[in-house]
Amino acid sequence: MSYKALILSSLLAALVSNDAVASKTDEGLSDEVLAQREDLAGRLDALKSKLETDSKAVDADQVVQWNSWSSWQSGWNNY
């Protein structure tokens, strides 16, 4: 493996293992931001629980798999 290929391989491996977003959670947050985060998580979890038990809320067909372009264009994350 050439020197350049070795550096690229190392950089690629680092990209996968060193994801700042995935690896940190509550580190260094103020009490105010932490409380806001917990409030939003609580609302999402409450709806998750309710939707799972409420058959009229979401039919299975409603959750479509949009292609990645659509998700990218919307700015929404989870494609």
Partner: protein
């Protein structure tokens, strides 16, 4: 040390920068240029990107950053074939985002043969659409777009609609809903008029429109729940999927992860992060071009000093969002291009764009479900 598989998930290809329309909110800077991607460049994309072990299988290729239908169907027949020949066995989901002007049998035959996903830009009723989506002669483009849509419907070819919402369209969500219902448009996506690239202002840039956008989406949830299974709306489904996702995946943000999205310009220049960086003049980042696909593969971008400076800025911006924003766990740090265009730096935090597309979208959809399910 082996290369991480599946890193590249989306490839945005610019077959030509040219657009046959002249929409007043368009962010693309070079839409007068008639340049088209050369066959040799297509071969290089196939060999160095599609066949690359770090590219996911299947991978999505989006033909965009100009109006793709200004090149003829034969051009794509050759382009798709060249890409397939250069990366045998790789499953590729081709996708067009188009203004639908000029859809005919030849286009639908091409898309049918290659199973192409079609998105059409249509902003709603004729007055709303024609207000911004102009022909190069200055007239409205509504009739041309609707003719294309009718041809797809005649052939039962599936497609989705992307509507850019402006201040006028937010005022009457029921009118928008009834329009889609009347024209049997069942798969909907909403974009907002952004401050981006060549578009320096937005009719939505006032705090009252964040509330108006929330009300708009809440009303769409109410109306669509009265017609179960009839409509699929990307924004509503996106929030539902977010609710169902594990906490760590809610923060996944492909626009801040190097190489997850690769953009390839008409001349072979490669970029990453936000596709909206393509074609933007930014000397401090070498115009966001970090490698040339005709010379080297996408990994080479990682060694480029301009890429490394931008990556550092984006990482700082994500960290600043993480420390300051209540919505970070449902966002993952925003869109670098919007930070750059609005704040002048990818190291910043909140933008007008994220207030609308992340915060107001989430609040609008959540509020409707909370109200309906008596959780409020």
């Amino acid at each position: 040390m082996s290369a991480p598989a599946g890193l590249i998930k989306l490839i945005v290809m610019q077959p030509t920068p040219y657009c046959n329309l002249n929409c007043d909110y368009c962010y693309l800077p070079d839409r007068d240029s008639r340049q088209r991607m050369r066959p040799e460049t297509l071969d290089a994309v196939g060999r160095r990107v599609l066949a690359n072990p770090i590219t996911s299988d299947p991978v999505t290729v989006v033909w965009h950053a100009g109006e793709p239908m200004t090149l003829p169907p034969d051009w794509y027949e050759e382009a798709f074939s060249r890409l397939a020949a250069a990366a045998p066995g790789r499953k590729v989901q081709h996708s067009f985002q188009t203004n639908a002007v000029g859809i005919n049998e030849a286009w639908i035959d091409l898309w049918t043969r290659w199973n192409v996903v079609i998105g059409i830009s249509l902003d709603g009723p004729v007055d709303l659409h024609d207000q911004h989506r102009k022909t190069r002669g200055g007239g409205g483009s509504y009739a041309l777009t609707m003719r294309g849509i009718e041809r797809l419907q005649d052939r039962d070819y599936p497609f989705h609609i992307i509507s850019v919402l402006t201040a006028d369209s937010l005022r009457d969500p029921d009118r928008m809903f009834d329009f889609y219902l009347q024209h049997k448009l069942r798969n909907l996506c909403f974009n907002v008029e952004e401050v981006e690239g060549g578009n320096k202002t937005s009719s939505l840039k006032a705090p009252e429109f964040e509330e108006a956008y929330q009300r708009f989406l809440s009303r769409f949830v109410e109306r669509s729940r009265s017609l179960p299974g009839h409509f699929h709306c990307r924004e509503i489904d996106g929030v539902i999927r977010l609710i169902g996702a594990a906490a760590e995946t809610r923060r996944h943000n492909p626009q801040v992860r190097p190489l997850e999205i690769i953009s390839i310009a008409v001349d072979g220049g490669m970029s990453t992060f936000s596709p909206e960086f393509l074609g933007v003049k930014a000397p401090e980042f070498n115009n966001f071009v970090f490698a040339d696909v005709q010379v080297e593969g996408p990994e080479a971008m990682l060694l480029d000093p301009s890429f490394q400076r931008l990556h550092a800025d984006i990482t700082a911006g994500v960290e600043a969002c993480r420390k300051s924003c209540a919505y970070f766990d449902a966002c993952g740090g925003g869109a670098p291009s919007n930070k750059y265009f609005e704040l002048g730096s990818c190291g910043g935090t909140e933008t007008f764009y994220c207030r609308l597309t992340r915060k107001a979208t989430l609040e609008g959809v959540l509020a409707a479900y909370e109200n309906d399910l008596e959780l409020a």
